[in-house]
């Protein structure tokens, strides 16, 4: 599966994205499992609100972190997320 650039991306309704105080990081929770996220992965997933497309997310994060050229990394991570069922289109 690959990301369709036309469609908005939303975080899965059957997973939960949550800040863990004890671990000082964001995690994804799902039945009997947990994935620990680094900061950039968490920032990307927080943008998956069911309204923004891939291009919107890239623009948003490039502005937020005053940088450019994030498209390849964000796209690659979202594809992993899609194949793991963390996000949907």
């Amino acid at each position: 599966m690959t990301i369709n650039p036309q469609l908005p991306i939303r975080f899965s309704r059957t997973h939960r994205l949550q800040w863990e105080e004890a671990q000082q990081k964001f995690v994804i929770l799902y039945p009997e499992g947990m994935v620990e996220l680094n900061q950039s992965s968490a920032e990307i997933l927080k943008c998956c609100d069911g309204e923004r497309t891939l291009a919107d997310i890239v623009t948003e994060l490039e502005q937020k972190f005053a940088t450019s050229g994030l498209h390849p990394d964000i796209s690659a991570f979202l594809e992993v997320a899609l194949n793991n069922g963390w996000i949907q289109q």
Binding site: M1, R13, T14, R16, Q18, E20, A22, Q23, V27, L29, Y30, P31, E32, G33, M34, N83, G85
Partner: protein, 377 residues
Amino acid sequence: MAGYNNNQIKPTPPRWLLAELTYSCPLQCPYCSNPLDYASYKTELSTDDWKRVLTQARKMGAVQLGFSGGEPLTRQDLPELVKHARELGYYSNLITSGYGMTEEKIVQLKEAGLDHIQVSIQASTQELNDHIAGTASFEHKKQVAHLVKKHGYPMVLCVVIHRENIHQMPEILAMAEELGADYLELANTQYYGWAHINRDLLLPTQEQFEKAEAIAQAFKEQVAGKMKIYYVVPDFYEDRPKACMNGWGTTFLTIAPDGVALPCHSARELPGLECPNVNDYSIEEIWYESKTFNFFRGFDWMKEPCRSCDEKEKDFGGCRCQAYLLTGDMYNTDPVCSKSPEHGVIGQAIESARVAALAADEKPLVFRNSKNSRGMG
């Protein structure tokens, strides 16, 4: 309390809390992991006790929470506990037989904040399911699975695999697909508790395992992206032990119905651990300071061949309960390991089960119920 040595690194906090709310259960599965003498533990923690346990463990960093048993639905305070867990930020898993579940309760638990329901089914046919469960429950379980999906929970179907149902693997997979399972847990029986005493009747042959595993693996590829398969390996046919509990006292905390804290749900079977009770100590004291939780932490307790083994940080010597049940010494290498001098007991168990399978006068299964339990004391 003993406490960990100061020259050791402070243990990692618990991540997984298994709350065994009760030992009472309307089913009688002959592979139940509850202790054989469960009927002698009559007291159950109160609602307030459980709330305190959940609060304390969450504060330390526990995040995955399993409500289990017995059958957790027999506790009338389940929705209240789920609500408390949700407020604390746990991801709550309900591990149920489905028995006693209604649509009203499914909605009520969802509103209380339950994240997921795992429904167990014993086989792909009514006849075998009801025989193994010791209760007529098959159609109701399938109905519950539908309702779980209908109300937006991720649905996990759990099927424990053993010699009586392993030939149904293709039908079990078809059933999971038909029910729309998001996850399918194919749990090869682990031989503790009731499964240990029924092992001759439950342990499949190597040929049966290999055939079933090949079918399950092919299915896993076929449904990739739609359904996730958790395949719990049958360690009797492995040559290295499982990294049991991800290492003793590193990740998992089980609280038994009477408040006894255990590093794994079978640890009650081990001698001399003096397992602490949440009525006497806080979870933090239990986790860091108790003799029980420090007993097999790290590597200092190991005997050879584990002590000098270059794989000890990978599997932690395997399972302490299995070492105890099969070799009589809980400090021994898990005999599943081919490096264990007692590895022969695994071959003997497999052979004993094979002979039993071929015998015309097979013994009956010992079902998990209070009458049988009282005879085990």
